[in-house]
């Protein structure tokens, strides 16, 4: 076990974990931040997506030792007032079904909009293709992203 200083959702934390423990399990099992989900453990589904210095990253394959100097944002810290435009838009379009994939979807979408405020369909597909939704909410996700980007996605 080793101690790691991490910055999560703008808070400095010291966590004790094995160096090879993926960030996902540090978040969930050490810090009880369970908003970030486990779906595959192999960077195949996107359920565990968080931001590392603003970049959408699969936390299930990212050892804690690799992120000690990074700024980590999880779904719990996605917005301060709970009112990120994507969260609003997700609600307006009633996107979630079971909801399990949605933290990952939102984190991927937020990173996309931060880099590309007006993404077209291809850019959205490219950014979101790593996030599986077994319930099949893709059409609403796409509309919600466009809406949040001010492109008037149809509900």
């Amino acid at each position: 076990m080793a101690k790691f200083k991490v910055n999560i959702n703008n808070r400095e934390e010291v966590v004790e974990a094995e160096a090879d423990m993926p960030l996902l399990w540090v978040l969930r099992d050490v810090l009880s931040l369970t908003g970030t989900k486990f779906g595959c453990g192999k960077a195949l589904c996107g359920a565990c997506t968080v931001h590392i210095n603003g970049v959408a990253t699969r936390s299930c394959v990212l050892p804690i030792s690799a992120v000690t100097d990074a700024k980590i944002t999880t779904i719990e810290g996605m917005s301060h007032g709970g009112d990120h435009p994507l969260q609003e838009s997700w609600k307006k379009h009633n996107v979630p079904q079971c909801g399990y994939c949605q933290a990952g979807q939102l984190m991927s979408a937020a990173a996309l909009l931060a880099q590309n405020p007006k993404p077209d369909d291809d850019a959205i597909d490219a950014a979101m293709n790593g996030n599986i939704c077994r319930c099949g909410t893709y059409q609403r996700i796409r509309a919600a992203i466009k809406d949040a980007a001010g492109q008037g996605g149809t509900p």
């Binding site: 999560i8 959702n9 703008n10 808070r11 094995e18 993926p22 399990w25 969930r28 099992d29 810090l31 009880s32 931040l33 369970t34 908003g35 970030t36 989900k37 486990f38 779906g39 595959c40 453990g41 192999k42 195949l44 589904c45 359920a47 999880t74 779904i75 719990e76 810290g77 996605m78 709970g82 969260q87 609600k91 307006k92 009633n94 996107v95 979630p96 079904q97 079971c98 909801g99 399990y100 933290a103 939102l106 959205i124 597909d125 490219a126 979101m128 293709n129 790593g130 996030n131 599986i132 939704c133 077994r134 319930c135 099949g136 909410t137 893709y138 059409q139 609403r140 996700i141 796409r142």
Partner: protein, 744 residues
Amino acid sequence: MSGSPQPFRRLDRREFLKVGLASGTCLAMAVGGTPVAAGFDPARVHQAAAKPVFTPNVFVAVDGDGKVSITVQRSEMGQGIRTSFAMLVAEELNLRLDQVTVLQATGDAKYGNQNTDGSRSVRTLYIPMRQAGAAAREMLETAAAQEWGVAVAEVHAEDGQIFHKKSKRSLGYGAVAAKAAALPVPQKPKLKDRKDFTLIGKDHIGIDVDAVTHGQARYGADLRLPGMVFASIEHVPVVGAQLTAMDDAATRAIAGVLDVIKMPSATPPVLFKPLGGVAVVATSTFAAFKGREALKLTWDLGANAGFESGAYQKALAATAAKDCKVVRQVGDVAAAFAKPGKKVKRTYYMPLLAHASMEPPAAVARVDENGCEVWAPVQAPQRTREVVAAALGMDQSKVTINVSLLGGGFGRKSKPDFVAEAAIIAKQVGKPVCLTWKREDDIRHDYYHSVSWQHMEASLNADGYPEALLHRTVFPSIGSTFDPSARAGSEMELGLGFSNNPYQVPNQQLEVGQADAHVRIGWLRAVCNLFHAFAINRFVDACALEAGKDPLAYRLHLLGEPRNLVFSEADKESPYQLNTGRLAHVLRLAADKAGWHEKRPAGVGMGIAAHYSFLSYVAHVVRVKKKADGGFVVERVDVALDCGQMVNTDSVRAQMEGAVVFGLSLALKGEITAEGGRVLQGNFDDYPMLRMGETPDIHVHLVDNAELPTGVGEPGVPPLAPALASALDAVGAPRGDALPLKFV
């Protein structure tokens, strides 16, 4: 505590729920069997009052402040049932959705049937849930009328207040709650007229959306308890395998590993028993996973080790090629086939499928001297209670099943084997346990959707329509999970699209063949309808092609005059007979909206299919385009649904959209195969799912009528695969009679 005479020591919130670092709010997840709130807005989320003042039934509670809570007894897995049921009750209470708190029931017989399956929650409880609300409203109104000494007919409840217009007086629901509680509960409260609905039949945002989008919604592995440990199980590689040797030295040497526990192998019938294997308990899920990798296990693979998918498929085909057991005979098929006329013969194959809900099986359990309490994503909370109680040798009254949100269910979470595992481990280690299945466990050790082979033959009359039909269906039965001697599809399974084929043919013979299961077989969204709808729609297309007729016109002709069809004794009494006119209507609706009758550009093909399942009528039109590189792209899907009276129209629409994606995954990608008894697939690389870039434009067309409400969660899936295969036919793709359609 409901149903449990021995309440647990009630933990302080701070004790059991470590609030997320960044979140200023926490989702209440109560301990002790009280229904729990799962809303998000902290101002709105409140526990049901410890002793609500007025509880006319188990679904409605009103406290002295007038706060109203509605308890939902069915499980939320994305179909929106928490919202729909809250709407039904709130409608009759004359409240808005934001005026009620929605609680989730524990598994308890007092709530009636809680099995969330068969697309029947709204169908069976549309009236009872409204009655629960209406009874409460009538009692509140009566209490207010008595308070004022006026006639009940002069008062009415609205928005949390009872009004007496004449005297311009009003009282809050809370103010009369105590008085209402003393009144007799009306057995047949008056329900609102459909034209007066303010909630039912309209679009509503899901009540849990905020919790979901803020990372506050709680699923099976999300509760944190003090002293909790984490577990994962290396399951038997083949159903029925026995562990013959174990070397766990390397596992125990891994930092964080606390214990290694042998779990006995399930013996037939496998039922909902834990499958067996070796559990690793650790200080984190990751350490438990690592511990599993270091185990050295030797297995006697047992009777199912000979299971090979290729050979198995051939055996199914061989069975279907010969006479099987006749389950229905109409007219004289042999005589009709002997007459001259075009003959059509086809076979159809669908492989085993895994559910692969995004949330793999997971559960939290705690066992102590008082009993057992679990938090789990289960579709059948009462069954879970029974199974957990049996696994622990404990009286059911000492077992509390709290139902978390389900990260998808699709039938998998009707089987509580994984919850029993968590409880067994928790008992063994004496600490609360959070059990997580890896994705590989989920895909390799599922209760699979059955593999199937269909054999169909028709003899066409001079007009090109079938004069005779022979249909054989062969698949291992779900019954095998409960009784290994069950080797043929049950009446229930055959009733899922096979024995209720709406395309009536004068001479028909339906046969069912035998097949052994070598894996656990279970329900998967739409169940046997998937392969029966595939075969029947494909075959109707094959006949239409042979006859040189348009597939839509051909179907409409076969459906004939609008009328109700009766397939069984039970159907005769049923208010839900298959109406050919309603099926024809959704076919026409989907076709019109999709532009079926318009000229199609070169390289564009359309396919159509319809299926009646879970008492609802669905038609799909799929439009595909041939790409320059020879591949195909699915451009658009039009879905028409008639499910009778709808509750939340937006979640009905969402279910249809999701069903298209689910249907495309199974049509294009889904295939579970085994070698040496072991399932070969394990994760989303070799058991892929449809992704956003592959998702077509989906247009949903809902039929608005006042017929009895029928199923929504499942019926949207079956027509997709045959409609897609038909569309591909139209652009010269290889004939898609075996799923998945790997050439796309």
